[in-house]
Symmetry: C2
Subunit: 392 residues, 2 copies
């Protein structure tokens, strides 16, 4: 029987080729200035920076540039953004970029409205962030879906930690989703983004101990099928509007609370991957791609097989009369084929110059104070080391 | 290629067996009194009225009773509700009931914040309703999904008109969805509700001229499949929690703007049915059930067949190798079988004592000033009369 749940998602979305034309009229309702949060090269190179700034001119919105966004955003950079807002009386933040830009904007928006100067205090203390500056987003990548969710993930390079936090106040006010802005995403990032979208469904709900409501379970099937169908198209044909729009909307709906309704679960693969990208600064989606099929193989048993098998039947079109254990194996094979052949991702940690020297330490951190990662199947540090080894 | 769209749905939903325990803590954030909008018998008979009132006592919220709700809510009753709120300084409305109760609450909430005394002026003048009292809902039926959408439908018995209006201000603030509160819905109303849920998907988006985004089209398949699967279960076994929860959540998501993203379409069958229930005061879902398969048959041709056929393959499990026209016919047959056999609804207007004496007049009204109902297939008054005749 499905657990009780609460659902609310207040973000307004303008989606399509004319999404950006609504930028200034939406922002001016809240502020006559913005911190423009972006990561430099590609946003400027492909003209999006100029387009955004021109749109903001329509309502004479003053722009303060914050161009410090990097993959795995750092708490020290967030602190700089917080100071910029306080010193200049900035009343709104506008992220232009992928998940890192949007997560940075959220962390800055929350920091400014707190009494902290160091955002890591907020991450660590898990203080409730009850207020934030209004957050606006122009996503340039289909990946985290941060543009419609309430969470952000920040890295601390000093302590080699990567932590997420989730507060309703951090949900973007308006997001402007033009699939055309994702045409320039390189094949590698397209692949990593697609893996991340799938992982959000698989890792947080599709495979789970909690009973899923039939309607939502069915929608998860189709969500995964959407990514499996369109990611290879976008990978081969980057300017395919249909592929890019399906991926962008699938990203937003993977983690915006809808399909998770009634499922309460830690994301196991994410917990392991956060250690990899915190220590080795690799691309999150690539870390997930390497871990996911090995994790599936590690947890496969008579009890878990039916859930893995369902993915074979519903997502990978394996005939329904295939025996359960065989179908579960097919899910693993098809996932490997998709990630490592069709989407061209390197399949081994060793290919990313990661060896086993820190596996024990990372496994301990992934399991945290509880000593286990709860989730579909509970993992101890010993299990996590074993999965890391399978990825070498 | 999918049309551009905007999406926002701000309603907070508490769903499950403990949903009502959050009633007073949510309402007190907005008001220390409420107009309790309900329809009398069943709400009191099964103890829900007492349960709600007891919950409201927790925060000493003063209750003003408005028990005038009837099927096809009347504008004159709405006006009485408006006066009650103004005279007593009521600052919030709480609907307990089906779509008629929630629509009544919305219409009252909008009327109170306008400068009108007669809600029909708002319906007719199509004045934008930019403000409304906060609206809360305890749905007792899976049907309209009014608890999560921004529209309401009001009838004028004097002019025999039934009109809907849709304003963001009319979207409920919080809805408290306990599937157990739908256990007492009689079989007939369960059937009518299920038909209405399916019609919201079929009539507004599933069959449409506009291109649908692949992900959303797939989710519509599963939405319909959910109703087709669980409506017969709830019909036979009214206290089946799984069936009732799937239907309740399916109702909310049928019309809450998510699956309509990118599709702009008038609801043809709804337009025809509104004439039937305005003139003959029949149950909306029953009118839809009678019209839907005849409308499908009337519009079936080489151009429309592929969309009807998809429903056969994806929703009714007709083998994928069935030829398109044959599959489209199967969709009509399966829909008739579901509505008129499995769900036991009478299949002909004559069985509801409706004859052809007013068909021309109703057809003219359904087509309105434009002279046609736009939608999946454009219908003239002549077409509408023909479809009414097929239902006799």
């Amino acid at each position: 029987m499905t657990n009780d749940f609460s659902f609310q998602n207040t973000t307004k979305v303008h989606f399509g080729r004319n999404a950006l034309s609504k930028l200034s009229s939406e922002i001016i309702k809240y502020s006559d200035n913005v911190l423009l949060v972006y990561g430099g090269r590609s946003v400027k190179k492909y003209g999006l920076y100029d387009k955004v700034v021109n749109e903001l001119k329509k309502e004479n919105i003053t722009v303060y540039d914050y161009d410090l966004v990097k993959p795995n955003p750092r708490h020290t950079d967030i602190n700089i953004g917080g100071r910029m807002c306080r010193e200049n009386g900035i009343k709104a933040v506008l992220a232009v970029g992928g998940g890192s830009a949007i997560d940075s904007a959220k962390a800055i928006a929350g920091l400014v409205c707190s009494d902290a100067e160091n955002c890591w205090d907020l991450v660590e203390a898990k203080k409730p962030i009850t207020k934030a500056l209004p957050i606006f987003a122009v996503p340039t990548m289909a990946s985290t879906g941060s543009e419609m969710d309430a969470s952000c993930v920040i890295s601390n390079l000093e302590t080699e930690e990567k932590k997420g936090y989730n507060e309703p106040a951090l949900r973007p006010t308006v997001t402007f989703d033009d699939p055309v802005n994702t045409f320039t995403v390189p094949a590698y990032q397209t692949a990593c983004g697609a893996v991340d979208i799938m992982a959000h469904t698989i890792d947080t709900k599709y495979f789970s101990k909690d009973d899923k409501m039939d309607m939502l379970y069915r929608m998860m099937d189709e969500h995964l099928k959407t990514v499996v169908t369109w990611a290879p198209v976008a990978y081969e044909d980057p300017e395919n509007y249909e592929a890019r729009s399906n991926l962008l909307w699938a990203a937003a709906w993977a983690l915006n609370s809808f399909m998770t309704c009634g499922v309460r679960q830690a994301a196991t693969v994410h917990a392991m991957e956060h250690e990899l990208s915190a220590v080795y600064d690799i691309t999150h989606g690539h870390g997930i791609a390497i871990l996911m099929p090995r994790w599936m193989r590690y947890i496969l048993n008579d009890e878990t097989a039916p859930q893995l098998a369902r993915m074979a039947y519903r997502v990978y079109d394996i005939p329904e009369d295939t025996p359960v254990m065989e179908a579960a194996e097919k899910t693993i094979e098809c996932t490997e084929k998709l990630f490592f052949e069709t989407l061209g991702l390197k399949s081994r940690l060793s290919e990313l110059n990661i060896d086993d020297s820190r596996f024990e330490e990372m496994a301990e951190n992934a399991c945290g104070a509880a000593g286990v990662i709860k989730g579909f199947v509970e993992l101890t540090p010993k299990d996590v080391v074993e999965i890391f080894r399978m990825c070498l």
